[in-house]
């Protein structure tokens, strides 16, 4: 009797899973594509991405047809794909999907949509910070890593380990999870450099610099990290779509020598007449790119007078010296705009940046869009397929220069989410897809954190959170010096 009961349960369970095989008869068409969340209609995905589960957002009963097979939602209107099934689909060039809905007892079909498959594989991991989008309060936050081939997220460091400190501005050298830098503020403040399976705490405020080190970027050879130093504050707007303005009243760009624990700079990157920020090295390490605006006084009242352009200066890694002239790459001020976060594709062909009305902290500017500069022709253009009416900002290139991850507020206007777009060899971007989750509708609706500073990684950070937090808590830190 007991065996019979178990068998009945098993049969019922298997029956539930195999409901996918039930056939239905479609009696009509509905013009247009269905409304699904996330919007994965006609996106391009890498073959090694985790299944793009989604929900039909209409009210009717629904089903999905893929390659002639009918799949019913597992829960409500959610389509959750088995990994093996998804992998099979990813071997082709595209997956054609058709949403069917039942109206007045009859099944109708929306126009089909495709998920195009690119066989250019994406880096398997990304790293990001999860933070409430208010910036002053940070009771709970952390830097995390996510396997793009599954849904697994694990912490690199969470601020519960350090009593609610702010952890920020993480970056990896050439996507290497073993070479990382990040900062902590408040009680256990410092800059933390992870390299060669060791972690080092740095005290980076010096008498010659206006603040501790801020926005980082590794030199490809790993000996240098360029940072900005910023006198940053933020104010909350009375009303309007842009809630917060984060502004600098002074800023410079410096280069840190990892071996000598010293800072150096050029007078052209550290000038009182200019604000310099958001530095990054070119993939060959010969150029230091950064954003710069004429200095503006009486901040934040004059916040809209700061217009940052993109400049570069030659950098010699052999002796840590700079060229003697600046080259303007993008004169945003001439267009009454600002540019932020210059990031050059690893193949050296494209420079992606965020373009917005003014200031430098684009994530709070609703008009912020991602733009591309062809470094061969010097032409710039918006990455139309990637951008939205909401903020589209911080971006990072994959190792093969074919994928870009960026953050956007397009989902609800406040909480930033990650999107990934394919970039072809001619620099044409495809419609981006939202970072897949097992139950994206519930996950993103419940998630009270913004994704911040997404960066690709070739693997998982090997250093344990315990080791990192122990260093944060106990290491007195090495004082950074100035060598000029």
């Amino acid at each position: 009797m007991k065996r019979l009961a178990i068998l009945s349960i098993l049969i019922a369970t298997v029956g539930g899973f195999s409901s996918c095989s039930r056939d239905i008869t479609v009696t009509g068409n509905i013009q247009g594509q269905p409304s699904i969340y996330p919007d994965y209609c006609d996106v391009t995905v890498p073959e090694n991405i985790a299944p793009l589960n989604f929900s039909y957002t209409g009210e009717e009963d629904c089903a999905l047809q893929v390659d002639g097979r009918t799949i019913f939602p597992q829960r409500g209107r959610e389509f959750i794909f088995r990994r093996s099934q998804w992998r099979r689909w990813m071997t082709g060039d595209a997956v054609s999907m058709k949403i069917l809905v039942r109206k007045d007892g009859k099944w109708m079909s929306y126009d089909p949509f495709e998920i195009k498959v690119s066989h250019e594989r994406i880096d398997p991991y990304i790293s990001y910070r999860l933070i409430p989008p208010g910036y002053q309060g940070w009771q709970v936050m952390g830097i995390y890593q996510r396997n793009l081939e599954t849904y697994r997220q694990s912490p690199v460091i969470e601020n519960r380990m350090t009593g609610g400190d702010c952890v920020n501005c993480h970056t990896y050298n050439q996507r290497d999870p073993g070479t990382m830098v990040f900062h902590a503020r408040a009680d256990f403040r410092g800059t933390f450099v992870i390299k060669d399976d060791a972690i080092e705490k740095l005290n980076t405020k010096t008498d010659s610099t206006i603040s501790a080190l801020v926005y980082p970027y590794w030199h490809p050879e790993g000996r240098y990290i360029t940072f900005s130093t910023n006198a940053t504050k933020q104010s909350f707007f009375n009303h309007g779509p842009d809630r917060i303005e984060v502004f600098d009243s002074a800023s410079d760009v410096v280069v840190y020598d990892v071996e000598k624990h010293s800072l150096t700079w050029s007078p052209l990157t550290k000038s009182t007449e200019m604000f310099e920020t958001f530095p990054s090295f070119s993939p060959d390490g010969k150029w230091l790119y950064f954003c710069s605006s004429k200095a503006v006084d009486n901040m934040p009242y004059n916040y809209d007078q700061a217009h940052y352009g993109i400049y570069r200066i030659a950098f010699n890694a052999a002796d840590g010296t700079f060229g003697d002239s600046l080259e303007c790459i993008y004169d945003a001020a001439a267009e009454d705009k600002s540019a932020s976060f210059p990031r050059i594709s690893p193949d050296g062909r494209w420079l992606a940046f965020t373009r917005h009305r003014c200031g430098n902290f684009s994530i709070w500017h609703q008009d912020a869009d991602i733009w591309m500069i062809d470094l061969e022709s010097g032409e710039s253009r918006p990455a139309e397929a990637m951008n939205s009416d909401e903020v589209d900002s911080y971006h990072d290139w994959s190792g093969d220069s074919r994928w870009m991850v960026f953050s956007s507020r397009r989902d609800d206007g406040l909480y930033t989410r990650l999107y990934i777009s394919h970039i072809d060899e001619n620099g044409h971007e495809s419609k981006p897809f939202m970072l897949p989750q097992k139950n994206p509708k519930d996950y993103y609706k419940d998630l009270m954190f913004s994704y911040n500073i997404p960066e690709f990684m070739t693997g998982k950070v090997g250093m344990s959170m315990h080791r990192i937090s122990t260093c944060m808590r106990k290491d007195p830190g090495t004082q950074v010096t100035v060598s000029r």
């Binding site: 208010g134 002053q136 909350f236 009375n238 009303h239």
Partner: protein
């Protein structure tokens, strides 16, 4: 234990009926005790219920310990020893830096002791080790209390393997160390001591250690076989614990933060009459004045009562703390003043606590998002509130406003806030609060609370020239159709004395009469002037609750 301190715990969390919330909590070290604590605390929206549940849990704790150590059901002396930890834990709970799972973890420990001592008969050492591990995972480092108590029990039994019970505390310590190494606990102290239940990096007072220590001590005391010795020991320990707990509780009740818990409870529940009464019965401070004035603002009686109690300067209306960004009081006052951007800035930062979400701040954010018309974000907040037991009804009520501008415009509170937000461009909380308040009035002169706050700011700052300009501009419009008595007193004073000063725009009696000053206020002022002459520089009697008394005789 203070009932308002307990109720304040409810504002530090939001128990969400959702699988991921349950699993996310359970998968942490001590997760079961945390989940039990949060489940209990969700009902603390009423201070009386909070007190009732806490007392019941303390009684359960005492009963479980008694059940584990008693010799028989009539062993009342053991009941006294069983109550010792509960007494001390009850006193500990007055400290809101101590999380409520301190109590629930002890309950799990005591339940495990009952199982270990009364149910398990064979392979006790193996079971003891296994239970220590399970208790560490479910209740955190309180497992050490179980380990030591179980070892004491085992040693008293005199069995052949009794010395192997030393493995229990060793196992508990090992669990703690593993938890530390795997980042389950931030510090070794968190992994092994009551600091686990305390705000990280704050040192837990000795009292919280005593609650733990009392468990093995009570267990050991109950093992004394000589009744003549046990009775005085049990009585002395119990009397000592009770006396100590009462002393600690009385001291805790005098802590100024207790009064703010009370004010915050009444504010979060919009019980303005009780808030008014509460403020009157406590020591006067800027914080008390802020809450009292807030209550009057909501009751529409702020300007009528401004000088009936000891308001001194604008800090009585709004005292800005050094760390303004997470002070719920600031959020409530900014919201009442119609400075919605500032209210949201503060409430957003105060919305998240280490135990989850602050429901009052989450509600405020949901309302401000509805005012903004950013319905996707409002929907997000309402969805979370809907997953709680107590706030579900409220959230469902506000769901009607989503993507419905007309419904928002027809709602008194939301439409007022929406109009308040139409202030001229600029930043919130950057300048003087009164300047920002003036922008709100400019945008929405119909906002009665904002209008009352503006008048109160001008009166309390003794800026009667600006009060005159303000009246000139807004008299007869919006929410200023009746001039409050204190403002009348200020204007008649200005009218009389402005004629004697240069660079001051004088106003006539006719102007005053045309701007809401009543004839009897003029007569009252004449009487005040005569009384002042008689009193020769001292404050004349009978005029204590007048603006003239505040203006001339109250030093700021």
């Amino acid at each position: 234990m203070n009932k308002f301190a307990l109720a304040y715990r409810e504002q530090q969390q939001l128990f969400i009926y959702e699988k991921t919330y349950f699993t996310g909590t359970l998968l942490k070290v001590g997760g079961l005790s945390t989940l039990m604590a949060r489940f209990a605390v969700q009902f603390f929206w009423s201070p009386l219920i909070a007190m009732g549940i806490t007392v019941m849990l303390l009684a359960l704790s005492a009963y479980l310990l008694w059940a584990s150590i008693r010799r028989d059901r009539r062993d009342w002396l053991s009941l006294l020893t069983g109550m010792i930890p509960a007494c001390l834990i009850g006193a500990s709970l007055s400290d809101n830096s101590l999380h409520f799972d301190y109590l629930t973890s002890v309950i799990l420990v005591e339940a495990a002791l009952v199982i270990y001592n009364k149910i398990i008969r064979t392979k006790r050492i193996l079971w003891g080790v296994l239970m220590t591990i399970i208790i560490y995972i479910t209740a955190g480092p309180a497992a050490i209390c179980f380990a030591v108590s179980a070892a004491v029990i085992e040693l008293s039994k005199g069995s052949r393997l009794r010395w192997f019970s030393a493995a229990y505390p060793i196992t508990a310590l090992a669990c703690g160390y593993v938890s530390y190494l795997t980042a389950g606990s931030a510090t070794l102290a968190c992994a092994l001591t009551p600091a686990f239940h305390y705000n990280l990096d704050e040192s837990a007072p000795l009292l919280h250690w005593l609650g733990w220590l009392a468990i093995p001590v009570a267990t050991a005391a109950a093992l004394i076989r000589n009744k003549k010795l046990f009775a005085p020991v049990a009585l002395i320990l119990f009397a000592g614990a009770m006396t100590f707990s009462i002393m600690v509780s009385q001291k805790a009740d005098k802590n100024p933060s207790i009064t703010s818990y009370e004010y915050e409870y009444y504010t979060a529940n919009e019980r303005w009459d009780e808030l008014t009464e509460s403020c009157r019965h406590h020591v006067w401070s800027p914080g008390t004045a802020n809450y009292l004035n807030l209550a009057h603002a909501y009751k529409g009686t702020l300007t009528d009562n401004l000088f009936r109690y000891d308001n001194r300067g604008v800090s009585s209306l709004f005292f800005m703390p050094e760390e303004k960004s997470v002070d719920v009081r600031v959020a409530h006052i900014m919201y009442a003043m119609g400075n919605m951007a500032a209210a949201q800035n503060v409430s957003f930062n105060a919305m998240r606590s280490t135990e989850g979400f602050c429901p009052a701040m989450l509600k405020m954010n949901a309302k401000v998002e509805l005012m903004r018309g950013t319905y996707d974000v409002a929907d997000k907040y309402l969805s979370i509130l809907e997953k709680s037991l107590h706030y579900r009804k409220w959230a469902k009520k506000y769901r009607q406003f989503l993507w419905n501008d007309q419904a928002v415009d027809n709602d008194r509170e939301l439409s007022t806030g929406r109009k308040d937000m139409e202030v001229s461009d600029g930043f919130a909380m950057l300048g003087n609060p009164i300047d920002e308040l003036m922008k709100v009035i400019d945008a929405n002169p119909d906002d009665k609370k904002a209008m009352d706050y503006a008048l109160s700011f001008l009166l309390l700052s003794k800026d009667i020239a600006r009060l005159k300009d303000f009246t000139d501009r807004y008299w007869g419009s919006g929410a200023l159709t009746v001039l409050p008595e204190y403002a009348q007193e200020a204007l008649i004073f200005y009218s009389e004395y402005s004629r004697n000063f240069e660079n001051v725009d004088p106003v006539s009696l006719e102007w005053c009469l045309a701007h809401g000053v009543a004839q009897n206020t003029i007569q009252h002022f004449e009487a005040f002037q005569k009384a002042s002459l008689k009193s020769r520089g001292a404050a004349p009697s009978g005029y204590k609750e007048t603006y003239w008394n505040y203006l001339l005789y109250t030093q700021l």
